[in-house]
Each structure stands twice: as C-alpha cells, then as structure tokens.
Amino acid sequence: MSTLDIRRPAPAFAVSQDLVRLAYRLLAAGLICLALSLTTDAFLSFANIINVLRQASLLFFMASGLTLVILTGGLDLSIGANIALSACLAATVMKATGSPWLGGLVGLGTGTLVGLVNGVLVTSLRIPAFIATYGTMWIIHGLTYYYMAGETIHGFPPEFRALGSGYLWGVPVPVFLMVVFLAIGSIFTQRTTYGQQIYAIGANPVAAHLSGIPVMKRLVLVYAISGAMAGLASLVFLARLNSAEGDIGDSLTLPAIAAALIGGASLFGGVGTVSGTLIGALILTLVLNGMNILGVSANWQPLVTGAIVIFAVWIDIKTGGRSSEKA
C-alpha cells in the first residue's frame, strides 16, 4: 500500500473508475425498476414514470448543488429551510406584482444570498460547516414561519406554473431542466479549472492552498451555488404545488443529502460526480415511489431515508478506506 492517500488518481484512470461507480448505481436503479414492475401494475405506467422523473428532478436540483459542497468536504444542512424561505418570498412577490420573472428572480436571489451567508460563516468566521449551516437552517426556518404566520399563498400565473407542470418538446419542463443542469454541472466539475480546484480542495485543502488555489473564494462559491440551486428547486416546487406554506421545506434536507451520498459523493471530500448524484436522486425516488405504490404509509419515509443515508456513508467508508477517525 502506498503511503500517499490519493483518492483521485490520474485523470484517465479516474474516468474509468467513475464509470464503474456509475454502472453499479445504474444497475441498482434498474433492479429496483425491474422489481417494481414485476410486483406492481401501477409502476410501469407512463403517468407514473413521468411522476418519478419529476420528483427525481426536484431532488436533483437540491442534491446537485449540495454535491459541490460535499466535494469540498463540507455539508449544507440549510437546504430545506432555504427552499421554504425562497419559495415563500418568490410567492409573495409574484402575488404582489403578477410577474413570474420578478418572482423567479427573488426566489433565486434569496437562495443564493442564503448560500453566500453560509459560505461566509464557514470561511471568514471559520465555523465548522455542518454546525454553521445547522444554525442558519434554524434561523431561516424561524424567519419563514414568522413571516408566513401559518398562511398559505396560492394561485400563480400559468406561465410560471408551466415551470412545474408544462412540457417542452414533449418532455416535462423540470425533467428538461434536469438534463440541462446535468450537462452544466458535469462540464463545470469535470472540464473547468474551477471544478478541478473544487475536487482538489476536497481531497486535500492544505495542498490545495499551497498550490495557489484560492480556497476561501472557491468555498464561498460552492455554498452560493448550493443556495442558488435550492432557489431553483424552490421555484419548481412552487410551480408544481401552486401554493406556498412555511413548512414546505421541512422534510427536504435529508432526502437531498441521501441522493448525493447514494450517488457516490463522499462526505470526506474529493470524490463524487454530478451524474452520480442524478442516479442517486433517481434511486431514492424509485424507492420512495415504490413504497408508495406498494401501499406503505408515508410515515415510513424518514426512517427509510435515514437508513439509506447511513448505509451509503458506510459503503463509502468500506470502499474508500476513509472514516471520520482519520489518523
């Protein structure tokens, strides 16, 4: 065994290893699909497949931004709360002005701003990521509940609702956006200097700093991207639900983390891909959708999601050879 712990070897080899990881996950997704289509009649309907893809797309928007944060060895626990705040503010502005563009801008802006605050807390104030974003999560959660005071805002312009329920060239708009952001995310992480610097920071922050990467700036960037993607998810969610309430983000953080981890992102940083996260989002959605079709109560969902998170990290430790007790 080499004494150098390099989890991300030379690029050519890395691509093939990523492909192997991806293939395993695709196989798992395929097996779940096969099992569900054999055991139920409802799974293999066009409406249900579209439904799965729609749900997976929402999960993907949250989890893909989060993947970048996890790549740097950080975590963003504030995603769910961020979505609720962004959705409620976007809904308010849209109701007041009637403009879907202005509402969308406010949703994205709010999400990004929350991400920037997280980034500053983690970098400039040097607070550990999980506890900093845990703190902002509760602050945003409290503000959203106070602002909404139990009210519901509903009824948005049809051109905005198309974002959630419309079609573009026969493809549901959220699914279309999912493909677009998969392409953007993959190119950004694999083919740009910024992306490679993010991997380098996660693999070894000290080495990254010593080799001249502006670590602080890149960290703020990934938290801002995570926030912006939460803002985007909030808009799609808002368009699909056609209503905003203070509690809409409460149960979204754990699934987002689960999707990224199932997709192969390592909590210890430096390992993971955006395409893996897409598969992760699909697998989790398939499991939850399957439980739904099989008539399992929704009360089981947090338990199953929690177990999946722990299982995914355990697999990562087993295969990656790292653990939280790094020597």
Binding site: L75, L77, L121, L125, R126, I127, P128, F130, I131, A132, Y134, G135, T136, M137, W138, I139, I140, H141, G142, L143, T144, Y145, Y146, A149, G246, L254, I257, L267, S297, N299, W300, Q301, P302, L303, V304, T305, G306, A307, V309, I310, V313, W314, I317, S323, S324, E325, A327
Partner: protein, 316 residues
C-alpha cells in the same frame, strides 16, 4: 496573591463569563421590556421548563466534548415519550413505561455510538440518519395521533412537589450532580475530553476508546428516555412531534455555555447557565408575544455568535 493565582483568575475571566454575561444581559433586558417577567410564578416556570432541556444538554456536552454531535436526541426523546405513554396507558404501570422509554433511548444511543465509533460514520450524519429513523418510528407507533389518558401519578412527576420543591427541579439537581461527579471525579470522565482532544493518546494508553464513545452516546439516549418521563408528564400525552427540534436548544445551550466543538474543552456549569439562558430567552420572547419561530431564529443567532467567538479563541 501569587502569580499563578492571578493567571488562573485571568484565564477564568477570559473563558468563563461569556455565558454568564449573556444570561445576565437577557435577564436585564426582559426584566425591563417584558411585563410580568420578574414575577415569581414566571421565574419558577422558566426553571421548571429548563429541567427537560438540561436533561438533554448535559449528555450533549459530553458528546460534543468527544468531537461528536447528537442531532437525534430530540427525535429520540419524542419517540421515547410516545412509547412511554403507550406502555403506561396500556399497562397502567409508570415503572414499566419509564423502563420502556429508557430502553428506547439507550437502544438509539447504542446505535448512534456504534455507527460513530465502530463504523466511523461522521456523528452529524449518523445521528441525522437516526433522527429520521426515530421520527419515523414515533409516527408509526402512534399512527400520527397523540397518546392520551396519562394517569395522574405520572402527571404528578411534573406538577408535584417534594418537601416544597418541585419534583422536576429535584430530578434536575440530582442529574446535574451525577454528571458533575461522572465528568470530574471518575476515570471514565477523564477519558471524555481525551476522546475529543487527543484520541491517539487514549488509544496508546490502552483504553478501548470505542467502548467509551459508545457509552457516551448511550448515556445521551438514556437521558432522553428519562426526559421523556418529564415531557410526557408535562404534556399529559405522548405526541409524535412533541420534542422535534429540541436537539437544537440543547446544542445551543452547550455552545453558549462555552463548550468547544473542536478541542474537547467542555464545561458542565457553563451548560447549566446556557440552559437557563435559552430558557430565559424563550420565556422572555414569549411574554413579548413573539412566537416560537422568532425564538428559534434568535437562538440560531446566539449559536452562530457563540461559535464565532469559539473560533476566534481557538485560532488567534
């Protein structure tokens, strides 16, 4: 006064008063701004409500001292309360109910400890996963409904007095003294800061560090089970969302109390003051007619500030 005494004193002044200053400031602000805050019934109410939080914050202090975290403790408390209520209602026996609540708590604590110590899963993710599990189980066993019909003898645990002192306060004092003894006067207690500060040295000294770590998390679960008795007694029911999120108040109390998240430094008395600070903050905002949401946001700001100050201290 010798030089050493002076340096010890200035060290204390540098590290200690943060939480005391916060507590006194909050007391002053609410005494002026919130009508009825200084009335005896209200102050004793703050004290009573703080007892449950103290049950969670004390073990949380030990867990954070090991560089760990337990995000599941509020959900485990909730689940234990539901199970306790179900057992008490169906058997009529408070002891059986308490036993079931403690068993649920310890089981989750051991699982948390096992995931962290044996599988090496980062504590915040391991306990985020078990948070989901406990929350789900609470909904499943209660079918989403409140468990009502708690007998009077259980309710008296919260509302009764013994020798003129409310029973929860007596329990809290006993528990605090037990934790003080455990952390500062036993061998087990000396391992805890070492787990966070210098785990390698502990291993080299031949201590089974994983066992100690599992025990610390199990203690957290045990305390959640004990707190479930007070919570169920206070609410006269077992509700499947009763204490969700209470882990944040506990973490806030520990952080404000001056325990560090990164170096194994912890201070039990600081946690006690931190619990009171969180209790006073919630009560005062409540009297000012500000809802729970604003209280949570304020506690969040308090936590970020406390962590910022801690970070400043650790890396000058």
């Amino acid at each position: 006064m010798s030089d050493m005494a002076v340096s010890a004193r200035s060290f204390r002044l540098a590290t200690v008063p943060g939480v005391a200053v916060v507590l006194v400031a909050l007391l002053l602000v609410f005494a002026i701004a919130a009508p009825g805050f200084t009335s005896l019934p209200n102050l004793s109410n703050v004290l009573m409500q703080s007892t449950i939080l103290l049950m969670l914050a004390l073990p949380m202090t030990l867990i954070i001292m090991t560089e760990g975290l337990d995000l599941s403790i509020g959900a485990v408390l909730t689940l234990a309360s539901v199970v306790l209520a179900l057992v008490v209602v169906s058997t009529g026996s408070m002891l059986l109910g308490l036993g079931a609540g403690l068993a649920v708590g310890v089981a989750f604590g051991v699982v948390n400890g096992g995931l962290v110590a044996h599988l090496g899963i980062p504590p915040f993710v391991a306990t985020l996963g078990t948070l989901g599990a406990a929350q789900g189980l609470a909904l499943i066993v209660s079918d989403g409904q409140s468990v009502v019909g708690i007998p009077r003898e259980v309710r008296m645990i919260y509302s009764g007095t013994f020798g003129g002192i409310p029973i929860p306060v007596i329990i809290a004092i006993v528990v605090y003294l037990a934790f003080h003894g455990l952390l500062y006067h036993t061998r087990f207690g000396t391992y805890i800061p070492a787990l966070g500060g210098n785990r390698e040295a502990l291993k080299l000294a031949g201590i089974r560090d994983t066992r100690v770590l599992v025990a610390v998390y199990a203690l957290g679960g045990f305390m959640a089970g004990l707190a479930a008795l007070l919570l169920t007694a206070r609410m006269s029911s077992g509700h499947p969302t009763a204490a969700l999120g209470m882990e944040f108040d506990a973490i806030a109390a520990v952080a404000v109390g001056g325990t560090s998240f990164e170096r194994g430094n912890g201070w039990l008395f600081g946690t006690l003051l931190g619990v009171l600070a969180v209790g006073v903050l919630r009560n005062g905002l409540n009297l000012l007619a500000l809802p729970s949401s604003v209280q949570v946001a304020c506690i969040g700001v308090l936590v970020i500030l406390a962590l910022f100050i801690d970070a400043l201290r650790s890396k000058p």
